[in-house]
């Protein structure tokens, strides 16, 4: 069985831009089919979806957390597999509730999306899951293969360099693979590093209309299958670090010999 945490970068500015070729509704439809495909793979597959909004991150859906009776509210449909319907209904509703309108407040828009917050939450969920499984002790229980897929549309937020790096290290420890699917915006150095360091893949979607095909071919298979059916990986990774005090990405700088923090001329 395998567990997928999906991190959606829901930057309103990027998604409400009418000049983009990929509309948010189309994007959401592709993502939902992809998620259904993940659930279709195996009966036991689980799913958690996190949304990164400007300044906050929210868990939008979790198939593990069945405490909420919400899924019972959904009327069964004889033409659709019930878990798919539950997921789709819940996710679209939650996103509609949470998605801020682009013009509501200008200051909220200036905040960078809390991608790292969402990433940390996803990792926490993984840890909680692991401890829950271990609770009945002795019996050797199979830990689900876990991976995180980040769908990113916004550029690097240099300010979050340190927390992101820390998240990457804990992902490495937890053996969680981080995949990155970049849809809009410039390549982000830090997410490239995240994918590289955890053994995931960083893929830039060039043709937006075939987003679903990208998702299906590159991000659907659990890590154990990837050793047999290869997934493209990036060969050029930007390893530059950020200056600890100015939060700028630097080509060359100084490293403190005591705390190993890196910095530009400010040292």
């Amino acid at each position: 069985m395998s567990h997928l945490s999906l991190l959606l970068d829901l930057q309103p500015a990027a998604w409400h831009d009418p000049t983009q070729s990929l509309q948010f509704s189309t994007f959401l439809a592709h993502i939902l089919v992809f998620l259904n495909a993940h659930l279709a793979q195996k009966h036991e597959n689980s799913l958690a979806i996190f949304g990164a909004f400007p300044g906050k991150s929210i868990m939008l859906y979790s198939s593990i957390d069945q405490t909420k009776p919400a899924d019972r509210r959904v009327q069964p449909d004889p033409n659709w597999y019930q878990p798919f319907k539950t997921l789709d209904a819940a996710l679209t509703e939650r996103i509609r509730e949470e998605m801020p309108q682009p013009s509501t407040s200008s200051e909220a828009e200036e905040l960078p999306v809390a991608l790292v917050g969402a990433l940390a939450k996803a990792l926490c969920c993984k840890i909680i899951q692991a401890t829950k499984v271990e609770a009945p002790s002795d019996t050797p229980v199979v830990m689900p293969e876990s991976r995180i897929l980040i769908v990113s549309v916004s550029p690097d937020a240099a300010a979050s360099y340190i927390p992101l790096m820390n998240s990457i290290f804990s992902a490495q420890k937890l053996k969680v693979v981080i995949d990155v699917c970049k849809i809009y915006g410039p390549d982000t150095t830090f997410l490239q590093q995240a994918a590289y360091l955890t053994g995931g893949s960083y893929i830039r979607v060039e043709k937006h209309e075939s987003l679903l095909q990208y998702l299906m071919m590159c991000f659907l298979q659990p890590p154990s299958v990837r050793s047999l059916l290869a997934v493209p990986t990036t060969d050029r990774v930007d390893f530059r670090a950020a200056c600890f005090c100015h939060k700028d990405i630097i080509d060359a700088g100084y490293v403190c010999s005591v705390c190993l923090s890196s910095g530009s001329d400010c040292f």
Partner: protein, 498 residues
């Protein structure tokens, strides 16, 4: 019996084995033997596509997913490029499987999914259509609704605990009947349909001479006795058992003039239903209504009354396509969800259970000595194991049963079972298999060592040599190679004469 059948990890530890991790599901070979038209009809239902997809191996699933959203065919080289060096072999087998069940015909040249499968599976993922292939939920009339709202949590029909206990009771009745046949105890008999199925599948056979048993002669119904296949069946995991029976059911379908595609569709529909929800049988075909009754006997379906206008699938049905049928603990309920067997190096075995079925299964290969309210004590002896071996059970099956049902405390040991006991059980099996018989021919009286060597090499080449002795210049080859070898010798002697 049910509890931790799958507690043992079956996940691949290293990616090497990921491709081969699970042998193809038992249903896949059956599907392969079906005609193309039957399969095509089967693939028109989204629920069937989803269920079959889940039964496939991981690589097959990925291939299907990669191709699902492509409109046109792609060259097979394109997808070949994705396969790593280690993945070649599993990838080849996966393509082979897919083409045999007609999901991906002709993978050699261009890759295009079966159009029916593609359309239905897309529909399964995106919803839509009007085939009602995921089951029509039962909607009660308004007044009932109001009454149920008052009742609160009963709103969704029988709760899952009730369904679980029902399914378990049904299933254990079948197994218990099997295991205690041929003994003097008379457990509850399953329904006639189940008995017929057990007999047809060869898991049970009629007693050779019914008069030999006093109980049998007094009863009118034919007395059945468990066969060696049946003994092996008992030690399988519940999931395998269920599929074995269902497969047999499918094989009987044609004799009963039922439509196989409808039967399969119904099974797959059940597997995609929601546990604890009630469904309406209105949309079912005549065949499927007959099945409803059969499956109720197996414990896959629950109905309040046999004439009831609604039915609910039990966990046995809804987990058909998953690999973890976790029916919660059975019977007495005071044994944990984990294993219950402790095996010591001195061959003594303690089983913390009061479940008659589990005790009966243990009795197949353990010499039971004493019994307490929650504990059975016995020991594994040469005689008890030989009895099991004579019944057709293999040593590996005994060991894997012990491993699967080992008590949590045993799991601290590494290896889990005492090595001495494991080895001894295997040795007892070898003891039984010291002699092996094979039909064949003995070739002897070769004039020269060279002649002998040439003929022997030829026989080895075609792979028929069973035994050889170069000092005595003779070898023994299986019967099917005889004509070849004779021809070879004749040709050689002719050549030499010329």
């Amino acid at each position: 019996m049910w509890r931790s059948a799958f507690a043992e990890p079956s996940m691949p530890k290293d990616p090497e084995t990921a491709g081969q991790q699970d042998a193809p599901h038992t249903l896949i070979p059956f599907l392969q033997s079906q005609s193309q038209t039957a399969l095509t009809r089967l693939y028109t239902r989204p629920s069937s596509c989803l269920a079959i997809f889940r039964l496939l191996g991981p690589i097959e699933r990925q291939i299907v997913m990669s191709l699902l959203w492509l409109e046109g065919p792609i060259a097979s080289q394109t997808l070949n490029g994705w396969v790593t060096k280690e993945g070649r072999k599993p990838y080849g087998t996966a393509l082979d499987t897919l083409s045999k069940i007609q999901i991906l015909p002709n993978p050699g040249t261009r890759m295009l999914l079966n159009p029916n499968f593609k359309a239905s599976f897309r529909m399964a993922l995106t919803g839509g259509g009007d085939l009602n292939s995921f089951g029509v939920p039962y909607v009660s009339s308004k007044e009932k609704d109001a009454e149920r709202d008052g009742a609160g949590d009963k709103k969704f029909g029988p709760n899952s605990e009730h369904l679980d206990s029902y399914a378990l009771e049904r299933w254990e009745t079948i197994l218990h009947y099997m295991v205690s046949s041929g003994t003097d105890s008379t457990p509850q008999r399953p329904s006639a349909g189940v008995l017929y199925l057990l007999q047809r599948s060869g898991l049970m056979q009629p007693l050779p001479s019914p008069s030999g048993y006093s109980t049998a002669s007094s009863r009118k119904t034919s007395q059945l006795q468990i066969s060696s296949l049946g003994f092996q069946f008992l030690l399988h995991t519940p999931h395998e058992q269920l599929w074995e029976l269902l497969l047999q059911y499918l094989k009987m379908v044609e004799e009963r003039q039922m439509d196989l595609v409808e039967v399969l569709n119904f099974l797959f529909m059940l597997s995609t239903m929601d546990l604890g929800r009630e469904y309406s049988p209105d949309n079912l075909t005549q065949t499927q209504l007959v099945m409803l009754e059969d499956l109720r006997d197996y414990g896959l379906i629950w109905q309040r009354k046999s004439s009831s206008k609604r039915f609910s699938p039990t966990r046995l049905a809804t987990t058909l396509t998953s690999s973890t049928p976790l029916l919660p603990s059975s019977g007495g309920g005071n044994t944990g969800p984990q294993g219950f067997i402790i095996l010591e190096t001195n061959y003594r075995l303690y089983a913390y259970t009061d479940n008659p079925l589990q005790i009966a299964v243990l009795n197949l290969f353990v010499h039971l000595k004493s019994r307490y309210p929650n504990l059975v004590v016995g020991s594994i002896t040469r005689d008890s194991v030989r009895k099991a071996l004579n019944n057709g059970i293999r040593a590996d099956q005994i060991i894997s049963y012990l491993v699967t049902h080992a008590h949590p405390q045993m799991r601290r040991n590494n290896p889990l079972l005492p090595v001495t006991v494991q080895d001894q059980i295997r040795l007892w099996e070898l003891e039984k298999n010291r002699l092996k018989s094979a039909d064949g021919y003995l070739y002897t009286n070769f004039a020269a060592q060279a002649d002998y060597q040439v003929v022997l090499d030829y026989a080895k080449q075609i792979g028929v040599v069973l035994w050889e002795n170069s000092v005595k210049r003779c070898f023994f080859a299986s019967a099917e190679g005889h004509s070849n070898i004779r021809g070879f010798i004749e040709r050689r002697s002719k050549d030499e004469q010329m």
